[in-house]
Amino acid sequence: MKRTGVFVCHCGINIAGTVDVKKVAEELAKHPGVVHSEDYVYMCSDPGQNLIEQAIKEKKLDSIVVACCSPNLHETTFRNAANRAGINSFRCEIANIREQCSWVHKDKPRATRKATKIAHSAVEKVRQNESLEPLSVPVTRRALVVGGGISGIQAALDLANSGFEVILVERSPSIGGHMIQLSETFPTLDCSQCILTPKMVEVSKHPKIKLMTYSEVQDVTGYVGNFKVKILKKPTYVDPAKCTLCDECTKVCPIVVPNEFDLGLTGRRAIYIPFPQAIPASYTLDDKNCPDISTTIACGKCADVCKPKAIDYDQKPEVIEEEVGAIIVATGFDLYEKENMAEYGFGKYPDVLDGLQFERLLSASGPTMGKILRPSDHKEPKEVVFIQCSGSRDPENHCAYCSKICCMYTAKHAMLYKHHVHDGQAYVFYIDIRSGGKGYEEFVQRTVEEDGVVYLRGKVSKIFEDKGKIVVWGMDTLTGKAIEIDADMVVLAQAMRPSKGAQELAKKFKLAMDKDGFLAEAHPKLRPVESVTSGMFLAGAAQAPKDIPEAVAQASGAAAKAVVILSQERLFHAPTVARVTNNLCTGCGMCVAVCPYDALSLKDGKAEVNEVLCEGCGTCTATCLRSAIQVKNLTQHQVAEMIEACLGG
């Protein structure tokens, strides 16, 4: 039976001001299958909803169309009303005659005609909507956190402390991320390592956290509540249980390579511990640099000196499969590539550094034991130029976005420099100072007022070396004067970029990326920690440039979102999924190829839908040459009727 009711909302004068709502209701009453049609001043109000419920009951309606505002606003309201009156939620459709009609048109007769067509089209759709119930799936109550920086650590701890098992996967040999490289943190000047290491230890000791360092996620399949992940555990060739951290091995290792932790300011051996506080506290034999490990004939020196026999050349990469219900991606950032900053002599002149290198110079445990010394000649620089927006806010040449934290860390750098080198002079080139945040503005003021850092508004036009100095040419746009500084050191406030490999990771996880390569959140305002794939959440700088408190807050937010899933026995999934008409399917597999969620597969020569994986996007529908696959409640038949209605009359 097809008995449709149509309810046209005035929305005060929001709709009725431009659309003749009475006429729309009258026109729709003529439509075959429409057995009830009325208008009301505010459909979403209690009396309005009562009106709908009453009509459904009295006229035995089996479907309704509410012509009102955008479905994003009141679809749920009216579907609930329909439900209360005894019809399935999916038997209610919204005709958007406000945002898409009354608010954008002035000509009343034409707007009325358009509203009528929109409503007609909704009637055609709803007539063929099936009554559907949400799909229910059980939940694997464990989580995966990818990335062992501060965000990943925080998320893992929050989840573990909520009672859920967590697998924390980190690509490098130790957790800690970039935060462990930092000296002090703004605006409080807390020692970064001092506040982070207790958390790292907590992770390593937590009974609910399974820490997998030197590991990478290879493959993710499944869906919210039921992901299957394959994790590649790379061999470290060192058994942490046996390693006593005696450090004898590094002494004999003949291979020296740049030390990543110090951003190349120092070197390390092929067998190494990234930094003294590393978690897990163990050595790693880096097989990319150990020349012989690939042929399994290492020089053997490290093994020879290792008393506890912790070194095992026979370790092999291992793929570990885990099942989890939710995933938090906290893959962090890298600094904008040095190669792109040739204009500032970065990479060419040893005394042009990036922010992280400068952090290492500032760090008490850094290569200079906290002394500010030029890499080129180990002299104390007396004039240091800091250049903000290096690689950011420059859509023509570099990144268009504001990297957000650079103003603050530059202020910190300049201040700390002054604390170390009292007779030195720090200059900061800036475009604007962006210091929104608790205590941030005060911090910048302090840098200027107490520490006498000179802020120059303007861009640096040229940097070149001359007689052992780095000459910086720039323009102070406030005074209009050209500026030339013979600096001893230049520090670039490099933009934050998504970490290397984020793109590949996004593909594996089926996450979307924004135009800058950061992982895209589901909604910029309302769903900032959710990814586009349900059950996967974003934390930290993987999503956008952010500072430590923001990263921590988002990590906790993501953990809370994951808990929402993990705390449930079963999950519900929208039932508007694809369905195959077996008789028509020839098993060509084109739909399988286009499905973004691997929800389709071929079985016995026919396409098969995994309803839980299907998000109902309908790309399969448009691909199928035989119209053999359709998304429930937006079938091609429905669209065909909607097209007819849009063009009729």
């Binding site: 063929q128 008409t581 077996n582 008789n583 028509l584 020839t586 098993g587 060509c588 597999g589 084109m590 739909c591 190829a593 286009v594 071929l602 020569g605 691909t623 040459l625 035989r626 119209s627 079938t635 091609q636 038949h637 065909a640």
Partner: protein, 343 residues
């Protein structure tokens, strides 16, 4: 011109050994056209096989029938079917493999290279013969068709009689086969899309006038899709018919068949039919030209399909029917696909 003696012997052996279910090849026609499809089950019938430039039919179409037949056999005879293919026809097999319609083991491919020639166009041939009846057609060493008629021999350079599609052919020898007869001579085609470009160069209204005149003729006998090896759907989307109805088809499914076009052979409906067919052949048509050949009203349907072949090549660097492992044109994309047409 390739000789098929070796293929005949191969065919005979296959049948004698029971290695194939039957063989689809070319035999003598009877309705005024020298060649016609021939189905051979007995080894002794192998001598009925012929090969000449009138072997124009794309026999791959019959694999569609075979699949239906096999679906009804209990138990199915899973032996392969032997099939004679030209270069273009072999590409149809590649697409069928790509779309998993058949498996490689379903066919035993007897390939024939067209070498420097190809097949003849019926209209051009009729014009050349001017009422005379042709007895045999061969290709001589100088790449001329030699037409033997009761009144003597006529020699014509191949280009004058070749089917249009052969003049634009980019695969004049089979790309997939089990045995091959003839040389793999690559023929230089300087304008693979010349015919399409000619239409493209017309102003929009003239293009429309051209196509309107052609499509208006359509009587919707559906010979084009019936002859097409790619049109293997049980039910065509533009039909409101219920071909794919089976006992388990629900009433809703039947009622939900979409009438994309009306049954009336009106110009608009004909045009939509041909557009749908063309777009569904995008990245699938291998330009065997059968649709155009079989059309009783001589609608140049090849030009529609060829257009999308051209776009697939030029926009997406996609070539149809060479690689069975390639994803379909429309089920793949590249990050840098052109989008200058999008606002």
């Amino acid at each position: 011109m390739a000789k098929i003696d070796t293929l005949k012997e191969e065919a005979r052996k296959l049948l004698q050994d029971g290695k194939v279910k039957y063989i689809i090849g070319y035999g003598a026609g009877s309705n005024g056209w020298p060649a016609a499809p021939l189905f051979i089950k007995q080894p002794e019938d192998v001598d009925k096989l012929i090969w000449d430039p009138t072997c124009i039919h794309n026999l791959v179409r019959f694999l569609v029938d075979e699949k239906r037949r096999k679906g009804k056999e209990k138990p199915p005879d899973k032996r392969p079917v032997g099939i004679f293919v030209k270069g273009c026809d072999s590409r149809a097999i590649v697409v069928l493999l790509q779309e998993k319609f058949i498996e490689r083991g379903d066919v035993y491919i007897l390939g024939i290279s067209c070498e420097k020639a190809g097949v003849v166009d019926d209209a051009k041939l009729a014009k050349k013969l001017a009422g005379k009846k042709v007895i045999t057609i061969e290709v001589d060493d100088e790449n001329r068709f030699v037409l033997t008629t009761a009144g003597g021999k006529i020699e014509v350079p191949v280009e004058e009689l070749l089917a249009e599609r052969c003049l634009e052919c980019r695969a004049n020898f089979p790309v997939i086969y089990d045995v091959l007869s003839g040389e793999k001579t690559k023929r230089a085609v300087d304008k693979p899309f010349g015919s399409v470009e000619k239409i493209e160069s017309l102003p929009v209204e003239e293009r429309w006038a051209f196509w309107k005149e052609q499509i208006d003729k359509c009587i919707r006998c559906y010979a084009c899709r019936s002859a097409c090896p790619m049109c293997y759907c049980d039910e065509c989307v533009v039909d409101s018919i219920q071909l794919a109805v089976s006992a388990d088809t629900t009433a809703d499914e039947k009622a939900g068949r979409i009438k994309w076009i009306q049954r009336s052979a009106a110009p608009s409906e004909n045009m939509i039919y041909h557009l749908v067919r063309a777009i569904h052949l995008g990245g699938r048509c291998i330009d065997c030209g059968e649709c155009e050949r079989v059309c009783p009203l001589d609608i140049p349907l090849r030009l529609l399909n060829k257009k999308l072949e051209k776009e697939a090549k030029e926009l997406f660097d996609y070539e149809v029917g060479f690689d069975p492992d390639l994803p379909a044109l429309i089920s793949s994309f590249r990050d840098d696909d052109p989008q200058d047409f999008i606002r």
